[in-house]
Symmetry: C2
Subunit: 423 residues, 2 copies
């Protein structure tokens, strides 16, 4: 099944909102065995929306419009749909009443803009939205069984409607058809080698993929490369077996670089190992301001392993809250091997955790010296067998330096935990 | 000037990478007075790229391709450009040598994949990239003065090439033309009223905008709404005056909701006020894991006001590192008004800051009770005049709950600091 997304909203083109919906829909489609082939982002204009609809419907089995269903005047999607299918608007009285009741029970006034949310193009089907005031809209072409849906742009409303309404309805509509092709993926997270050196080191093996209906993609981002292996075939079992064989080969080839063989994100892998091994962790941060702790709690279940952090941005806090000797900072500087070590050991002893991480660095863009230029970072990992400290030299971008520091610290922890796991 | 972006990469369609380049380019174009009208995202396929190029070049003055210039086999952009303009590849020997020297000086081997980075379509102009191994590519249509450029997908390389190469060259090419229209924007950040109620409350005023060549857009996201006012005109001074007048009117209408009259993000506004007033802050976090501190250090200059945080995820850490009485937690629970208050006062006194923020809540998706369901959060702000605590009830999504908590805490601080500023 070919899918196209039309993302609507001036805010996406003016750079005020990053379109995260498209990536989510791409992933959700892959899970269904559907293929997102194109995303078009356009502004809130009726003609542009109609033009994009004609073009997308000529290629795709499912066209998903996101955005432009809100109650304010810059929202044009419903009017464009009326023009596109040549109908007027009807009012959904049940939805209007339902919303009025919701607003009243929340102690809010019922206003015209919200009542207009009950309008939709005639001949279309409403998709109820328990998370917001805009219903989704479903338009089915009886002849081609092609479908166009319009969903709100607010991510959690869009996701709910896609999962609960669009997927089961579209599956049902095409239930009797034979699937055209299976596409299965396996991801591996690697760190420690850049994209081109990594590719060079496995190039002979990569040459064998095409003949086996396999392909490999490199997804680099600061400090890491995700490898995505894809198998395509018409037989589900054979395709899965093909993918498993190639995954094992690849894991073997890049073994020392693998951070997550299951393709987990680095924070997910760290959380997974800590939970699985029943270990606890505490964190001491300076330049990252708390971001390393925030990474650890980004998924549910963090209370099983994460005790807390001391973020010692000021030197006085390193002394008072982590017990770093003042003399150590005076002699070596706050960004130094001994201070990173003292921070890690201080927080581990104060919070009585099994493990601790500490980071201290010059995030930039200013504050560097000849000896410790912008991008200098020390990462310490302390555990039952002692404390390991490493020095890294990143670049000049603050945001990238902070991200690389967080990822590198978690990778150091993961490598220590894997040692424990294999011991 | 009309601009279109063609974003290339299977990873964008498979949901493994969010396309942040498009938003950045939209904003950068607006600053030049150019208008990004469309973004098309497609996979790494030569035919799809060529088709998108033909279509975009028929509409836009500047077409920007991002992605697909890397050294690995899934990168198709240069081959597609050769097909599109009907030429072969040439090798840029100077670039090949330059890269070989860079790799050698970094102690890395020089491999074929990197040498292939020196290839580009004949008749095109190379844009040097000091941040990476892929040059940008500039293609100029002498007749129409239309331009197509190809830039790497890695955000910081793309941004550098756009700013340092594409903008000055494209400006130069069209230097003698009269600008068609000025579009100026002013943003205002509001909190405390949802999009539709906000729109309803200013609807009479909004009716007057169209006649004055003004428009208003609503950009809602968790806990906040950005308002974007746009003025359009052919005279720069008149357009600016029109925008300033309307901005003053709007600020007057929504005064109690305004968090940043200058359209700063909430973390930027908090940092700005703390710096301007010479005040310091410390933070005590539970559910947010350190994210509130990370918000405060996301921009340079944080050491002027941010001392640090204690992230007390475990109750034992609330007691040992913040001095919250054990009895208080036993009686009221860790998520409670008195514990939030004790956390804020504890961290303020331990770090000797002028101000402090504390948050404790049930982030979810599990862990709620009848009395304190998932989404219950207490936020405390402590300052020279005392401690204020508020209770909030968010929804069931962990990520949204954490984001709303961070934003709401910063908004509480901003409102206190504004009181200080006006005192």
């Amino acid at each position: 099944m070919k899918v196209e997304v039309i993302a609507i909203g001036d805010e996406l083109l003016l750079g005020q909102t990053v379109n995260t919906n498209a990536a989510w829909l791409g992933d959700a489609c892959e899970r269904e065995g559907w293929r997102l082939e194109r995303v078009v982002t356009i502004g809130d204009g009726i003609d542009a929306i109609c033009e994009a609809l004609v073009s997308a419907e000529s290629r795709a089995d499912l066209v998903i419009i996101t955005g432009g269903l809100g109650p304010t005047r810059d929202d044009m999607t419903k009017r464009a749909l009326c023009k596109h299918i040549g109908v007027g608007m009807i009012r959904d009285d049940a939805w209007a009443e339902h919303m009025a009741a919701r607003f009243t029970s929340a102690g809010l006034p019922v206003i015209q803009a919200n009542q207009d949310q009950a309008l939709r193009p005639e001949t279309t089907v409403a998709l109820p939205n328990p998370r917001g005031t805009a219903q989704g809209i479903w338009i089915e072409n009886a002849e081609t069984r092609g479908v166009t849906v319009a969903l709100p742009g607010v991510p959690f409303e869009m996701k709910g409607l896609f999962t609960e309404e669009v997927v089961p309805r579209f599956r049902q509509l095409h239930a009797f058809e034979k699937p055209r092709a299976f596409r299965l993926h396996h991801n591996i997270l690697t760190m420690g080698k850049g994209e081109s050196l990594l590719a060079d080191s496995i190039s002979q093996w990569e040459d064998t993929l095409a003949a086996r209906d396999l392909s490999l993609a490199y997804l680099p981002s600061p400090a890491q490369v995700f490898l995505r292996l894809t198998a395509t075939g018409t037989d589900a079992d054979k395709t899965r077996a093909q993918l498993e064989r190639a995954t094992a080969e690849l894991l073997d080839l890049v073994a020392p670089l693998v951070v997550s063989a299951q393709g987990r994100t680095i924070e997910h892998e760290a959380a997974h190992l800590l939970s699985a091994l029943g270990q606890t962790i505490a964190v001491a941060e300076s330049c990252t301001g708390g971001g390393l702790g925030a990474d650890l709690v980004s998924r549910p279940g963090a209370s099983a392993f994460y005790l807390g952090s001391v973020v010692a941005y000021a030197n006085s806090v390193k002394v008072s809250q982590l017990g770093v000797p003042e003399q150590l900072i005076a002699t070596h500087g706050a960004v130094s091997e001994p201070v990173a070590r003292a921070m890690a050991e201080g927080v581990r002893s104060r919070m009585q955790s099994d493990w601790s991480l500490a980071v201290t660095g010059v995030a930039g863009p200013t504050g560097g010296s000849a000896e410790k230029p912008v991008g200098t970072v020390f990462v310490a990992c302390s555990g039952p067998a002692g404390t390991r400290v490493e020095r890294f030299q990143w670049g000049r971008s603050r945001a990238r330096n902070l991200l690389r520091t967080r990822r590198t610290a978690l990778a150091m922890l993961i490598s220590e935990l894997k040692g424990l796991e294999n011991a």
